[in-house]
């Protein structure tokens, strides 16, 4: 009995491969359709990750700068740091001394001698500052409230800067963050559903073309699985090949895009890195999805032709 089963499985596999090759044009057409769908899906996933990363990157740059008067002593500034650390939503505090501020300023304006001449070591008008990074840039109120206290304001040389004039812009971006993250996930799910429908339909069409074959086999007394098996094998091969082709396409496009000028603008490097970092996961997921969707679609699509009256 075991022997018999082995023969059956072997025949199903062999027939699947032979059918794949003999119907090579239908196979290629089906693979092309599935490849396009999987490629779009893969792009959507990488784009979503890149976008999420850009948002994270942007929000991490938001900080609150507290400019200290020159008269503030080291002890006072240390006390202020210690107090700030206790405030809710404070992630980290970086102390920037007057000297450091000057150094940074010079680096920032290295190509601008006129501005550079306005400051010098002997006449350093730049204040020391604390750069306060929040955990959640949407909730700066607690930090603001603390800094607005009279005794704290007394230590500050100028009003607190919430990353300068860009505050409002950054505020709205930060608020949009959450929305876009959720929208990205919903988008991916919609894409997955559409992909599955397209792949299912492609396979259904391929099987519809060969329904006579199924009906004949049924009339000759082949068991449902003996008929279905080769189709399942065949469609699994579509899935595997389409997955590989789509990965090669996406990888190739990123490789080309990263050499183009726009690459820094669109953060192609991140996308490419993300892709390489998750390559194995992507390969496994794509092939796995290809196999599962392929097998399930053909199993469902053949069913109507295999009804035994």
């Amino acid at each position: 009995m075991k022997d018999h089963r082995f023969i059956t499985v072997e025949r199903i596999l062999k027939t699947g491969v032979v059918n794949f090759l003999r119907n090579i044009w239908i196979s290629i057409a089906a693979i092309a359709m599935i490849t396009i769908t999987l490629t779009i899906l893969l792009f959507a996933i990488v784009a979503n990750a890149t976008f999420a990363n850009s948002i994270t990157d942007l929000t991490s740059r938001i900080d609150v700068s507290v400019y200290l008067k020159d008269s503030v002593t080291e002890q006072q500034s240390n006390q202020l740091i210690a107090d700030l650390k206790k405030v809710e939503n404070v992630k980290s505090i970086e102390y920037v001394s007057k000297e450091q501020a000057l150094k940074d300023f010079r680096e920032d304006h290295a190509n601008d001698p006129e501005t550079l001449s306005a400051v010098s070591e002997t006449d350093n008008t730049l204040p020391a500052s604390l750069k306060v990074k929040p955990n959640d840039p949407n909730r700066l109120q607690t930090i603001k409230d603390f800094l607005d206290k009279k005794e704290i304001q007394a230590l500050q040389s100028e009003p607190t800067s919430y990353s300068g004039e860009r505050k409002e812009a950054i505020d709205s971006i930060a608020k949009a963050t959450d929305f876009f993250r959720k929208a990205g996930i919903v988008g991916i799910i919609v894409f997955i559903i559409i992909s599955m429908l397209i792949i299912f339909n492609t396979i259904r069409m391929a099987i519809f073309n060969r329904r006579d074959e199924l009906i004949i086999m049924r009339l000759l007394g082949a068991s449902p699985w003996y008929i279905k098996g080769p189709f399942v094998v065949e469609t699994m091969m579509y899935g595997i090949m389409a997955a590989i082709v789509s990965i090669v396409i996406v990888w190739g496009l990123f490789a080309i895009a990263s050499t183009l000028e726009v690459s820094s603008l669109l953060d192609i490097d991140f996308s490419r890195n993300y892709f390489s970092r998750h390559l194995w996961l992507i390969v496994i997921a794509q092939i796995g999805a290809g196999i599962i969707i392929g097998a399930a679609s053909s199993a469902v699509a053949t069913r109507r032709y295999l009804k035994l009256k």
Binding site: R218, L308, K309
Partner: protein, 227 residues
């Protein structure tokens, strides 16, 4: 071997395609079923292959009572009966050899058995030299002989052929009939449906005539009377 007892088949609310048909076919018999198109021959055929269920009546083939047949046992039943169709029903993606081998594969024969049996059967139907051709490269008569080879390769006790000569020119039709006679001589019960008068008269076998879904005559050595 084949027993039909007052079998009636009515397709959805239409007139009965078969009405109280009773028929008893002995082992190794060669029975010709004649009748005009629409008389009910094909329905009878579909009942025997269990493509259709009778509305009422009893069908027993071999030792199998169709009433007790479960869906999952239908493939097994079909493997026991050799079937030849008017439109050949060959698998277009498979070669002649593969088409014939398919019947053995689904029955679970070993590769060695298949290798041994298939060429022999192709020899019987005179298609040894077409073994590697695809159906589209064959003439109608050749296709029908492939179908017969496929039907007999499992050495079934019963062979039913539904208008196997219907789509063939006279020369090829005779080839097919001769093959069927040969198979019958080897001991297979043959049930042949046709409306070809010449064939019926030539065969000189039992002839069952069906008209409007009813058996109107059953003669031991029959001839065909146009109705």
């Amino acid at each position: 071997m084949i027993l039909l007892d007052r079998v009636t088949k009515v397709y959805d609310r239409r007139e009965a395609a078969l009405e109280r048909v009773s028929l008893h076919v002995e082992s190794k018999e060669f029975v010709v079923i004649v009748g005009a198109s629409g008389a009910g021959k094909s329905t009878l055929f579909k009942l025997l292959t269990r493509e259709e269920k009778p509305t009422s009546g009893k069908i027993i083939v071999g030792a199998i009572d169709y009433e007790d047949l479960k869906d999952k046992d239908i493939p097994k039943l079909r493997r026991k009966i050799g079937v030849v169709f008017q439109d050949f029903k060959l698998l277009s993606n498979k070669t002649v050899t593969e088409n014939v081998a398919f019947a053995l594969e689904i029955a679970g024969a070993t590769n060695a058995e298949i290798k041994h049996t298939v060429p022999k059967v192709l020899d019987v139907v005179g298609l040894k030299d077409k073994a590697r051709s695809y159906p589209r490269q064959l003439s109608g008569g050749e296709k029908q002989r492939v179908a017969i080879a496929r039907a007999i390769v499992r050495q079934p006790k019963i062979l039913i052929a539904d208008e196997p000569t219907g789509n063939l020119d006279p020369k090829h039709a005779w080839d097919v009939i001769k093959v069927l006679e040969k198979i019958n001589r080897f001991g297979t019960t043959v049930l042949l449906t046709t409306h070809n008068q010449e064939i019926v008269n030539y065969l000189k076998r039992r002839v069952v005539t069906i008209r409007d879904g009813k058996v109107v005559s059953d003669r031991a050595v029959g001839s065909y009377k146009t109705v």
